[in-house]
Amino acid sequence: MVSKVKIKINDLYKIFGPKGESHVEKVKSGMGKPELLEKHSHVLGLQNINLDIIEGKIQVIMGLSGSGKSTLIRHINRLIEPTAGQIYIDDVDVLAMSDEELMNFRRFKASMVFQKFALLPHRTVLANTIYGLTMQGVEVKDAEERAAHWLKRVGLDGFEDRYPAQLSGGMQQRVGLARALATDADILLMDEAFSALDPLIRSDMQGILLELQEELHKTIVFITHDLDEALRIGDDIAILRDGRLVQQGSSQDIVLNPADDYVADFIKDINRARVLTVGTLPLKKTSAKGITLSNETSLEDAMKALVEAKKDSVTVVKDDKKLGSVSMHDIVHAATRSSETAGEAVTYR
């Protein structure tokens, strides 16, 4: 399958303050966030962002608080205007849209889920869910039918007539998700959508999202500052630091080759055995008399399979093609190695 770029962000800069434009050049020639704030009292939100988001994939954006995640995601539907740069969605220049076009873009093409749910407290669950549809001009009756369908999909049937305040946080966010899905937009923007939820409920919600995504194939931009969530959900991960993209790639990329200490710091506590797959290990060309596993198998599963089969090496295959073999010793080594050394030792791909 050829992957198509759905959202293309080029050389994006955002400088908050009354005269943002006049400071772009300074930032381009190397002025940092603290200096800009101190000398010119402008806040550097984003700098030199280049990001291609692939159609049908979940792009995670990570970063510490204040790194510019919310700012970046709000550029995609132009809730925030950039100071410089371009944004293309389906090859259409978002920044060139008139007010009318932008409104229709927001109504039909991109919907959003918010950290604090942002539901209307005076409306019932059902009336909240139809909000986007009524903006599209759908008749209320029709909209209610469609909304009810999505409420059922997120596990909320029977709650249509409740008010948001009568629901738990997890349920409120399901309403938020149903409201966003109901518009049938092919882009879903989720700004820390699950961050306000308890771990168990959060994991539930991740499950719901992944399950829905399996059949919907939306282009999802998902913001989080939680690495486990990023690894579970993301097809691709981009890491922001002080408004700059410091690394982007698959979760494997990031875990194996953290670009700098900031990223290494992020990944130091994760369970490598669960994230890494046998395909990413250095493989020996010799064939082994062990078990055969797909290259997508996680180290954890591979170890489990080896122990159960009482063997100590794995032949790794990709689509029935033999790639090479790897020993139990190497697997355990890769799973336990600290991330600092991983970057140097492993030649990847």
């Binding site: 409104m103 109504r107 959003m112 918010f114 604090k116 305040a165 009568q166």
Partner: protein, 303 residues
Amino acid sequence: MSLIDWNKLTITEPPVLPRELLRNFKKGIDGAFRDFSRTYGEALENFFNPLLMFLKWFQDLLVATPWPIILFIIGGLSWIGSRSWKMSVGAVLAFVAIGWMDMWEDTMATLAIVSVATLLCIAIGIPIGIWMSRSDRAQRIITPVLDVMQTIPSFVYLIPVVMLLGIGKVPGLLAVMIYASPPIIRLTNLGIRLVDAEVLEAADAFGSNYRQKLFQVQIPLALPNIFAGVNQTIMMSLSMVVIAAMIGVPGLGVPVLRAVSNQYLALGLMNGLAIVAIAIIFDRVSQAYGKRLQKHREGDHGV
């Protein structure tokens, strides 16, 4: 000519304008305003004529309506507002007592002016409040005006109002409105400004236009505050009843004035108590209604 009367200036007397100059200054203003009111007074009166007609019609209607029907309406409105039998029965009993003490007609007149003043305050105040919430500049300009409207003694603005429109119901109504409209304006503005930014952002993200955002998000979310403003406006127009009576507005304020000048203690007390009773009924009913408006916001987490 000097701007200070040097002869008068001592260590205990501050510098003061020469008497002649001061008199001319006042005369000038009075004259200019008198000319203005001669030229435009009639036009203004005509402008306000429909209002006068409406007020008269409404008052006559209240007086002409058979008392059992009025009692029924009072009880019904109390029930709709508060959903409490106690409240409704109490309201009806209060009005029975008012009638029994022979204050029915004055009470109807007071109800008429308070209702009309409140309606007008709402009709004018809510749009101004919305405008204020939209523009920081409007807020900067209007806020001090509202401060003045609330603090300046009523008698001071009664003077130009009476000079322009004479004595009667319309100037009384205007005086009541000047005093009673600030809360509804302020609280509309405040309520809209307090609407959660993330909810507004959500409205934007789903492509709402200006009107949709205003009517489907901002005003509904501001409603509890707006309603608190309505409640205060009603209370403040009631508190103006006696002052309005001084410039010819009929109602419970008239006997109170008569009682003051003739030292009729019982008359004053009875009418005063009638005003208080109406105020309590309006206040309780509208507050109960306001509470019910936001009941679903509290939630019981009964999941």
